[in-house]
């Protein structure tokens, strides 16, 4: 099994979720995170002084999928999350030894 992890822009979550649903995925786990990258930070004003906040809101999506579709899932996410502007984020794939569905104890492909 593979774990596909994506860091995306917050307002793209719904698009990615819909694209993954359309691609037949049935599960994923989503988390609010903060990202530091080439995008740089944003400049906020606080009582007449300017500050740069260099951790920007991002969303992390993790989904465990069978080996054979991992690349395709990554593509789907990339396509749905792309705005073409800096800060769009990353998708990476890593390997999972084993996965269990808690409710039933099913393993592997059955479990996702």
């Amino acid at each position: 099994m593979k774990l596909v992890t994506a860091i995306i822009k917050p307002h793209k979550v719904d698009d990615v979720k819909d694209a993954l649903k359309a691609a037949g995925l049935q599960g994923m786990t989503v988390d609010e995170v903060k990202g530091f990258g080439r995008q740089g930070g944003k400049t906020e004003i606080y009582r007449g002084a300017e500050y740069v906040v260099d951790l920007l809101p991002k969303v992390k999506i993790e989904t465990v999928v069978p080996d054979e579709i991992a690349d395709q899932v990554a593509e789907v996410i990339v396509a749905a999350a792309r705005t073409g502007k800096i800060g769009d984020g990353k998708v990476w794939i890593s390997s999972i030894d084993k996965i269990i569905r808690i409710r039933t104890g099913e393993l592997g492909d059955e479990a996702v």
């Binding site: 719904d14 930070g41 400049t43 906020e44 002084a49 740069v52």
Partner: protein, 419 residues
């Protein structure tokens, strides 16, 4: 003659109505998404700044100059605070309070009325455009309508009644809200996405402040600490309660569960509807008016889905419709034994439909006038500097795009470096 008791009540009433605007800011603010929270708060608080200054420089005079002339607009007798002080004016206006206090009290109405519009336009109004809009609106829409009704203008002369601003405040702001959202267009994603309220406790806090402040709004409109103020306070209380129950019951029956937002919305609907009636009705009437408003407004807020205008937080559904409900029901319940200013009693009390007709005329005229002029102002701003933020700014949220700020930073990773 200045009466210290009346003055005491009007001093605090002025404070209470002023406090309603922060209350409104939180009532609305709780319903928007977190990224637009400060945008909402700022629009409301800025009205406390800008409207006040415009009020004493020009708008008060346009509304209350030539008091009782039965006309369309006041004059400039009171512009630039001229003749507004503690010693003059009270007699001419038959007041038992210092004239400057009357001006300050009315100022709080001029602050909150344009602020009401912000609920409809949530999440996409460019701040600069907003500021220009409400400045023009106060002078071109609010001041004349206030003159017609509160300033002894033509609607007052006609015989229409409006105790604390059913037409002047609620129908007026509600109609303007409709006009502005037609110009602004829908929020991105609406109506498919629900746009979760980000902080319902703040909405409830706002409701509490509004309810409290509304005692100043309605009972303060008696302009003294007397029996009519007391009646208005009781009616306000009961209508809010009944509005809450009406809306909640409706939800319980239709959706299976009453929501806190529904209860809060119902209370506000009841408060809106009782506003024109507060010092003119008695007995169980406020309960009926509140119930009616609760149920009718929960229906009315569905209309936006049918007609496709994005009235984000239901200003049309609650203030325009609630204001109409109150203004028209006053035509049924107005009671001369409650208030001698009632010359024509309501249909259910005196058996005569005359008042109902006046109420209809006043409501319709206010609605149309406000809608048309607001639409023109909004269009003009849109053609020149643009009313709406860009799509990118809408994605980012108003807090950052308009004010370079973030509302909340609960975590430990919110640090920032000085440039």
């Amino acid at each position: 003659m200045i009466d210290s008791g009346d003055t005491a009540w009007m001093l605090i009433s002025t404070g209470l109505v002023l406090f309603m605007t922060p209350g409104l800011a939180f009532f609305y603010g709780g319903m928007v998404r977190a990224k637009n929270m400060l945008g909402m708060l700022m629009q409301n608080f800025f009205a406390m700044g800008l409207m006040a200054i415009l009020w004493v420089t020009i708008a008060f005079s346009l509304a209350f100059g030539n008091f009782g002339d039965g006309g369309f607009i006041g004059n400039l007798d009171f512009a630039w605070m001229r003749n507004i002080n503690a010693t003059t004016g009270s007699e001419a206006f038959a007041l038992t309070i210092p004239f400057v206090l009357f001006c300050a009290y009315q100022m709080t109405f001029a602050v909150i009325t344009p602020a009401l519009i912000t609920g409809a336009t949530a999440d996409r109004f460019k701040f600069k455009a907003y500021v220009i809009f409400i400045a023009l609106w106060l002078v071109l829409v609010y001041a004349p309508v206030a003159h017609w009704v509160f300033g002894g203008g033509w609607l007052a002369k006609l015989g229409a009644l409006d105790f604390a601003g059913g037409a002047v405040v609620h129908i007026n702001a509600g109609a303007a809200a409709l006009a502005v959202v037609l110009v602004l267009g829908k929020r991105k994603g609406w109506p498919r996405e629900g746009m979760h309220p980000h902080n319902l406790p703040f909405t409830l806090l706002g409701t509490g402040i509004l309810w409290f402040g509304w005692f100043g709004f309605n009972a303060g409109s008696a302009l003294g600490a007397n029996g009519i103020a007391a009646t208005a306070l009781m009616n306000t209380f009961l209508a809010a309660s009944a509005g809450m129950i009406g809306w909640s019951l409706f939800e319980r029956i239709k959706d299976g569960k009453p929501t806190t937002l529904g209860a809060a919305s119902g209370a506000v609907a009841g408060l809106v509807a009782i506003t024109p009636c507060a010092g003119f009705v008695g007995g169980m009437a406020p309960i009926l008016i509140g119930l009616a408003a609760g149920v009718l407004c929960v229906f009315a807020i569905q209309l936006k889905f049918k007609f496709g205008y994005d009235d984000s937080l239901d200003v049309v559904g609650v203030h325009l419709v609630g204001g109409l409900v109150g203004a028209l029901l006053l035509g049924f319940f107005a009671d001369a034994t409650i208030n001698p200013l009632v010359k024509n009693e309501g249909l259910f009390v005196g058996g005569d439909a005359k008042l109902l007709w006046y109420q209809f005329v006043a409501s319709a005229v206010t609605l149309v006038f406000s809608f048309v002029v607001s639409f023109i102002i909004a269009k003009a701003i849109d053609k020149t500097i643009g009313m709406r933020v860009t799509e990118e700014e809408e994605n980012e949220g108003l807090d950052y795009s308009q004010h370079a700020e973030t509302a909340y930073s609960f975590g430990s990773t919110g640090s920032m470096d000085r440039l």
